[in-house]
Symmetry: C2
Subunit: 885 residues, 2 copies
């Protein structure tokens, strides 16, 4: 039986592996193999596979049989190709040992350089290079790196020893130390090593190598690596490869050096070589950031031959990889060596420009361009953001309730916000939680920060609707509204102090941070046109106002998937009539109040229909429990009682009687429509009157009337009859025929599993995955803060199910509903209008289970469009090649 | 093509129909046919089928083709058999017309007697009988009945006219009126008839007949009938049959009369003829209740021949029907006629005795006996009840939270209840809602009445656990605790006033009502033994204390299906430690408090295990959100702060921070166990220490540890590991091996649809159908009061899904879980511990989907056992023949 191949060689223009073998060789190993095969100068070396790593852990940290022999065999080849010997007393080979997983993982083990040095090879190297100082410098670095990285000695101990020597000598830079200083340092370091590890520093190069390889493997389950993987959704069982490579030295004098670069500008995407170079330095000096690197043009001036070769190589590599690359190189005494290449990270703007340019350059096709852009990144292009280069101080973190960034002076009441806006001041409205009373102030503010409430709290929902930055449920802050300040940790932020909100991350930043405005380039338009050419699933927007609708249409929405009618009533001049309706003692009283609401609602629909002309508009009838419309505090109640001319006691009593233990599961949705049919009658009338009037003006209107919170087919049957009756009356009165449909939300488990029954009464289904997730999990989004983050951290759940659809549960429920619904009504139109409609992974899922469209907040429409196109390619078998690789 | 048969004849010892044709002929028609075939003297007649009625409504109230011809044809046969002619001027036939549906429906049309009378037949009848007064009396009755029942004239108009005549004549009884009075009355009645209907009273007998038949059909959709059907779960599309039968007269003198009876005592079940007789009377006189009927022995004395025949007939009928019967008969001039027979209604005690006696008499087999008892009725035997004969005044209605009845003086605080109990007084504790502070008072009270909270509120759950009568959520009452009174409507009930609670119906009764104590007879024991011989599904009880456990075991529970550990902490002397745990700042603080709880909990388990020795005990680890254990009011908080030695502010702050928007969907169940593992560790330790100690005393203990609120397999995996680890530690410490299992509740939709995944980590499943119903429907039981009753009333839902399992939704979800779970783990033990476990329809469903057991409150165990046996027979194809037929 052939022995399993655990080690892949590269060197002398030929490699065992190839660039597409990342799974086995890791990103770094695959890149080195690929470059070698391209005849690019790469120091010889070999890669121990990820499979060896996996078996190492399965075998209780023993090398799989044969691995070590293969390491030795390949080490011999390196010696041969480099013309040097590992541990050789005349011409010694030094190597670097690096981890390298499939995905780049900054949390993993660092590099160990100069491995192979000991008292013997040290002397040989001095003799060979004639540079004693260089060799001792390399040795002390090696001991420190090996000690720190392989043996877990505290790095600070070595740093302290170095610092003491420098202090004693009165010098500032390492380079100012003499050879003798370095010799002494080597001895000091060895003592530190022994003290901590209990062992002498290993002088046998093979022992050094074995320990380093084991340390690379071991680092896969190091704390930082595990945490990083959790954060970036990388599986624990991938394992890491280990690269052992002949050392070249950038620190052998003025004609040596080291550099890093990008083949194009990672910030703007501009097509220019974007690289830096450090003379007489090793890689770690660049990372340390002590010395300022030079522009790459300096290399051109000083070592034109090396530069020209680098120029040719980077172009060759980019052409070969067909992507913008991140490269590392070293020049040893005038000779160029490439040490690494990988796809380069980039900003959203850069990613977009590079993708488009490369299509123009015929390097890639449109499909590749589309698959390369991370939909989540697109968000950066649509909202203002805090300048990533700015130094900022984060003082608290809440829920990222509505994306973007905002700067302003702190105010604590809606009135103050409105007054400040009138004076032309920019403010951030800070509230414990917001209520309908605050809408004016929310409009006037740049952003909203609340101490309580979740991603579906009033503040969050309204802010997202307004496209306004919001951080909700920031429980770290304690607000004293009366005294006009809030505290966070030991800080006190007073009214008028500046803060900055990052609604994309949930971070509250002290003081004014510089913002970058979004700018939609022509490239963006071009790209999105390509995207739409491929995607097969529709994208609509959730929009409650004609303003939102206009934004959505600009962003390419193909209709409104969810128009919530209740938010229209939160406006200050409207809520009174709504409250009058709620407080009415009987049906007649409610009807009197509804008569006042009818023209308002009709006017809203007319505006929305106009904006969306020719496109469908799904209107959801009243959904939230009525108590949400009433004032919360006694003070507000008192003032409202005055206004209504009723007694405070009565109002308070009514408020109390509407109280619910679990409002999420209470008297809401179609349950309101069934017990108070006059409300849905008024709403249907408003929709149909608006439609009839516009229809007379030749505006094409496509209303889709949606009944929320259906659990049983009989509910929908009753409400459908109501809508059809009222719509018929209106059309008769207007002598107009406007076609409309009646459908329902699927947002309760009972609706999902009886979707076959419900289909008999529905023209369309829209999955309300916010509520469906809450009921499938039995999990209140507003209350989940005390344990859900812990669940995600501990890996009990892979993702927050309110952000990314839980495919195994909520998604499974949707799949059941799709199948049952279409079994009864083939081709039944289905969409999603929960917030998952704007999440790329969830869009992909929706496409796969056969939904007709996704609907998301206006600002996420481009994200959803891109995710939809990618879903199409992914289904066709394409591998997503994100730029974050 | 043969014409469809719409009319079935009976008479002269032969009938077209039979007793088992209730679907087509209705109960009455089938009974008449059966009696005729048995050669029992029944006046000839015919039955128009329910199918004719259904077609009548389908045909826009036209008779189906051929029906009327068949009526005429059968009428001719009646004439022939009776030797009289309908409308005949010499020997006229009169008929009765009666509705008769499959199920007895008191809400339907009454009987029209004496149909066929007009000026001509009147005279002939006078001539024939020589009794002018009798004939005019029959005529005036006929006009009034026909007017009222067929033509919808207000009955009061006829009554008033009759009253006026009596007043004018100064007489009290109808029988005191003279023939002339009656003649005048006939004229008066005709005038009333014409005034209201606008038509003359119809003199054509066939027209009278057609109108009466149509009225019978029409009455099927009369308001009362529709309402009755809704209330009794009878389908609208069954239709009613219509019986036309030759009149016989019990009012032709002293040797005539009419009677009703039961073949055995309907109250006690005693084997004796239980009948009454009214001399010289028609059926309606018995119903009117003006004259007091005589004991049936009077008939024996006066008309021994008729009596002897009746005696033979009732015995023959009972032997034939093999059941206790309700019969109606008339004696016309010494000759006996049977007019009706049907299965008689009876009390629970009577039903039980009759079933057992009939098995002993070899009339029926055990299976029939078992199928005849309505499980719901058994409840009557187990709790005290208000004497059904008592005159009571119901002043309010709440939720029937815990069955039984209780009488006592009203008190408003737990302390008052306890003090009164010490004085030996019986009290009813009336609270807005109860909290753990009230436990002592609840124990001391006879019953509990709350103004707020649902069927799962604190009061309801605790009362059911105690087996104590409770009415919850009685929102009609307004409590003024400070002034010590409550108001309801315009009444004021003060402290010390007596009230009576009917926890079975939810009725609050003014004053002391007489109660009947339950008594478990030997018959009961015999019967339940038979039941257990047939049932195939286990019955356990939900019991939280050793007291409950003992009751449950007495009632035949085969284990505990749900032992809620949290209720143990509500006891006043325990809640302090619990609260200390909740208020602790960190894990160490919690652990310190848990150390205090450990011996308490362990002691409880020891007691319960002892009672249940040899039977399994499923213990659910802590489930409710922690804030449920904290005081609610500022006053209670303040006193608690003193006791704890912490500041009121801190306590209030902590209370606030534990507040949840939707506690049902909040931080509870295994979410507590995951975030505060020390709680479940303590509970596991307590269970296993108790088990190990008893095991050393040779007490056989079978603990089943149940993790609540699992939604994802990873949750269960983590908690299972915790339990196994702690259990292992305890067993090692005790050097004892106690076998135990670890399972989970299936109470969230996500758990149900991923039951295949979860099964890998579970030894058993218990369906928590209370919470499952809440989440499947997205419906909070505590908040559903505002619309759920309306839903049931309007037929949107057939039943309250919290009482009877919603088979199409919640049940479907269970079915999915059973299938998925057993696919992975064949024979995985499954039960139900929601309150549906004690509902007969739901027990039947649980049996059909293959559950291993149902678990219900101790007092419902016998009900569940009976329902389980019936489920077995039902599955075998038996038709349930309840005594309510």
């Amino acid at each position: 039986m052939a022995r399993k191949k655990y080690v892949y060689y590269f060197g002398n223009g030929k490699a065992d592996g190839r660039g597409n073998m990342k799974d086995l060789l890791g990103g770094k190993g695959a890149g080195l193999a690929e470059m070698t095969n391209l005849k690019i100068p790469v120091p010889a070396g070999f890669t121990i596979t990820t499979e060896a790593c996996r078996e190492y852990f399965r075998n209780k940290k023993e090398h799989p049989p044969g691995m070590w022999e293969q390491v030795i065999g390949n080490l011999r080849k390196v010696e041969k190709d480099m013309g040097m010997g590992f541990g050789d007393p005349v011409n010694p080979l030094l190597v670097s040992v690096r981890s390298g997983a499939k995905f780049s993982m900054p949390g993993m083990m660092d590099t160990v350089l100069n491995l192979g040095l000991n008292e013997t090879t040290l002397k040989a190297l001095i003799k060979k290079t004639g540079n004693e100082r260089f060799v001792y410098d390399a040795y002390r670095r090696f001991i420190a790196m090996f000690g720190t990285i392989v043996m877990d000695v505290d790095r600070q101990r070595f740093e302290n020893a170095l610092g003491e020597v420098k202090k004693k000598k009165g010098v500032h830079l390492d380079t100012d130390l003499t050879t003798d200083d370095l010799k002494n340092l080597v001895e000091d370091f060895k003592i530190i090593y022994k003290k901590v590890t209990g062992e002498d520093f290993p002088l046998n190069p093979l022992e050094q190598l074995k320990k380093a390889i084991d340390a690379v493997f071991g680092s896969w389950f190091g704390d930082r690596a595990v945490k990083y993987r959790k954060l970036h959704d990388i599986h624990d069982d991938l394992g890491t490869a280990c690269n052992v490579q002949a050392m070249v030295f950038g620190n052998m004098g003025e004609n040596s050096g080291t550099g890093v670069g990008f083949t194009r500008d990672p910030s703007t995407g501009e097509k220019r070589f974007f690289a830096e170079y450090l003379i007489n330095a090793q890689g770690e000096d660049v990372v340390a950031g002590i010395r300022t690197p030079l522009h790459i043009d300096e290399l051109k001036k000083r070592l034109p031959k090396a530069y020209n070769e680098l120029d040719k190589i980077y172009k060759k590599l980019e052409k070969h990889y067909k992507d913008m690359l991140d490269i590392e190189f070293t020049v040893q005494e005038g000779k160029l060596y490439m040490l690494q290449t990988r796809v380069g990270k980039r900003t959203a703007a850069s990613a977009l420009k590079i993708a488009i340019d490369m299509v123009k350059e015929k390097l890639i096709d449109k499909k590749t361009a589309i698959l390369r852009i991370d939909p989540q990144q697109i968000d950066q292009l649509l909202h203002p953001m805090i300048d990533p280069k700015a130094q900022i101080k984060v003082i608290a973190k809440g829920l990222p309730a509505s994306p973007g960034a905002a700067v302003g002076k702190v105010v604590f009441t809606a009135e103050d916000a409105e007054r400040a806006a009138e004076r032309g001041e920019k403010v951030i409205l800070v509230r414990t939680e917001t209520s309908p009373e605050d809408i004016g102030g929310m409009h006037a503010a740049q952003g909203i920060l609340t101490a309580r409430g979740g991603m579906t709290s009033h503040a969050a929902v309204v802010a997202r609707g307004m496209g306004k930055c919001c951080i909700a449920g920031c429980s770290e802050i304690n607000i004293n509204e009366a005294q006009r300040y809030f505290t966070v940790k030991s800080m006190v932020i007073k009214e008028g102090d500046y803060i900055t909100l990052n609604g994309t991350t949930g971070e509250v930043v002290l003081d004014k941070a510089p913002l970058i405005k979004p700018e939609l380039t022509r490239d963006f338009g071009t790209f999105m046109k390509w995207v739409d050419g491929f995607r097969k699933i529709g994208v609509r927007a959730n929009a409650d106002t004609h303003h939102d609708a206009a934004v959505a249409r600009d962003f390419g929405a193909e209709g409104i998937g969810l128009c919530r009618t209740e938010h229209m009533f939160f406006e200050p001049n409207r809520i009174s009539a709504m409250r009058e309706m709620i407080l009415a003692d009987d049906k007649e009283g409610r009807k009197r109040a509804l008569v006042k609401l009818l023209p308002i609602q009709k006017g809203d629909f007319i505006e929305i229909f106009k904006v969306m002309k020719g496109l469908p508009v799904t209107i959801r009838l009243l959904d939230p429990p009525l108590h949400e419309f009433l004032p919360h505090t006694d003070e507000e109640l008192m003032s409202f009682a005055d206004q209504m001319g009723v007694s405070f006691e009565k109002l308070k009593e009514r408020n109390k009687s509407l109280h619910e233990f679990n409002p999420m599961l209470g008297h809401r949705g179609c349950r309101l429509g069934i017990t108070y049919p006059e409300i849905y009658e008024m709403q249907t009338q408003a929709i149909m009157e608006a439609a009839c009037e516009l229809s007379s003006q030749k505006v094409k209107v496509i209303p889709e009337i949606m009944i929320p919170l259906i659990g049983h087919v009989n509910e929908l049957k009753m409400m459908r009859e109501l809508v059809i009756r009222v719509a018929g009356e209106v059309q008769k009165r207007y002598k107009k025929k406007v076609s409309y449909t009646v459908g329902t939300m699927i947002e309760l488990p009972r609706a999902a599993i009886t979707a076959d029954e419900i289909a008999t009464q529905a023209d369309f289904y829209s999955f309300g995955t916010n509520d469906l997730t809450q009921t499938v999990f039995g999990l209140s989004r507003d209350d989940a803060g005390r344990f859900l983050p812990y669940y995600v951290e501990k890996g009990i759940l892979d993702d927050d199910p309110f952000i990314t659809l839980d495919q195994g549960g909520t998604g499974l429920m949707m799949k059941i509903a799709v199948e049952k619904g279409r079994k009864v009504k083939k081709g039944l139109k289905m969409g999603i209008c929960g917030e998952h409609g704007g999440d790329p992974k969830s869009v992909d899922f929706c496409y796969r289970i056969g939904l007709d469209y996704v609907s998301c907040s206006p600002y996420r429409v481009p994200i959803a469009r891109l995710a939809a196109a990618q879903a199409f390619f992914k289904e066709k078998g394409a591998v997503l090649a994100m730029t974050t690789v």
